[in-house]
Amino acid sequence: MTQFSTDNSYHPDVCVLGGGIVGLSVAIGLQRNGLDVTVLDESDTALRASRGNFGLVWVQGKGDTLAEYANVSRLSAKLWPQLARRLLTTTGINVQLEQKGGLYLCLSEQELKARQLMLQKMQSNADGDYPFEVLDLQQLREFIPEAGPDVAGATLGPEDGHLNPLLLLRAMTECFLNKGGTINNRGKVTKVTPNQNGFTVFTKNDQYQTAKVVLAAGLGNKELAPQVGLSAPLSPNRGQVLICERVTPFLHYPTGHVRQTNEGTIQLGDSKEDVGFDTGTTTQVIAKIAKRASQMFPILKDIRLIRAWGALRIMTPDGYPLYQASTEHQGAYLVTCHSGVTLGALHEGPIADWIAQDHSELPLEAFNAKRFAL
């Protein structure tokens, strides 16, 4: 419980700016370290990448040009079952984590070949310690009998999986509150001012005096970072997602473009557009997504699309995360990525520990913003 003190401001140990999956993962990890945490979260209509994502806990192909990213993704996947268990015991909510492997379907031989080469290169860079398999259509049909005749094949990532991202957000929120955390739901941060005791964080109606701040506000980090001596060159990248009606279970493995949720609804996606802050949908893109899905699984052609939305990924120039502690203003930390679900366990675990204890075994220099300076 954060005390309200006589100087008219709140005094938590840490202020986490941003109440999405990234912010909440870090927040509950900080609580695990014995800290009193307040999360400052924007309103009901915030951009909320956490509400728009696909739910994949995905490893294969990540970090093909940065080995450290491949490694932390794999580490996070390994830590996930522990976090899922902790959320279940604390809140009773099962986030439906399943890690039996994931498939990336390719609609042409060239695509499949290119992907195979990329994964082989990652494997050799890791001295052979990088598991994957290349399947032709017949082999793929042993996993998913409904794969259509246009599919050339797929790559199987045995460490891949998925979960329910909305239940995850809810479970993290409840876990955080159960452990005594405070969430300010009208907490869009207007200003962060470093001072001798740490930082003063201002929202519209409140003020917080704290020793540590964690910038986990997604695209909002861009504006906040310079106030604490950091840099967050972020831009939005839109992915349009389609949700179709519930069908009886048939897709028992998540794929890169089509996933069946625990409720039975079918999720289609994976588009990339630079359209600024537009979370709308466009006919061309959703038609393309639909076409690709029906080529991959012809069985889907008569099912109905019920809703669609545009979600904004938080993209750095190279697509890799930013994990950085401010040297100019000690106590400020930047945590930003576009794979908040996959990296959720990393954020709750080693990243939260890094922020709480100020040291880490993680190769954090690789995730520093200095890599963008020429």
Partner: protein, 112 residues
């Protein structure tokens, strides 16, 4: 099949009458009836069970807003009955929870 008191047909102007099959029973309905009207006049209830709790539901608004009247019509599941007009020989069945995907499209035994 009739397990509710059927709705009642008043005297109507001349029209074609067609036979539809509701849960395999032949029912005579009027050209221009929606399938929702047809199941009400046949006394079918409930017309679907919900995916979540298998609760019984039946047509509610009849104007395409509520999606309660989802039925399997000519083999197509989850079809809005109030927005579909009857035709001769149409097959109408209850919608049991979530939609089943067509079994015809598994390629398990197909040689690639």
């Amino acid at each position: 099949m009739q397990n509710a008191l059927p709705f009642n047909r008043l005297e109507t102007n001349t029209s074609e009458w067609v036979t539809v099959f509701i849960e395999d029973q032949a029912v005579k309905v009027r050209q221009g009836d929606s399938v929702a009207a047809a199941v009400l006049i046949a006394g079918l209830t409930p017309t679907r069970t919900t995916p979540m709790s298998s609760s019984g539901r039946a047509p509610y608004c009849l104007m395409g807003v509520c999606y309660e009247c989802l039925l399997t019509i000519d083999g197509k599941e989850n079809t809005q009955a109030c927005m579909t007009l009857v035709h001769e020989g149409m097959k109408v069945n209850k919608q049991h929870q979530a939609r089943q995907l067509g079994q015809s499209e598994t390629f398990k035994d197909e040689q690639v």
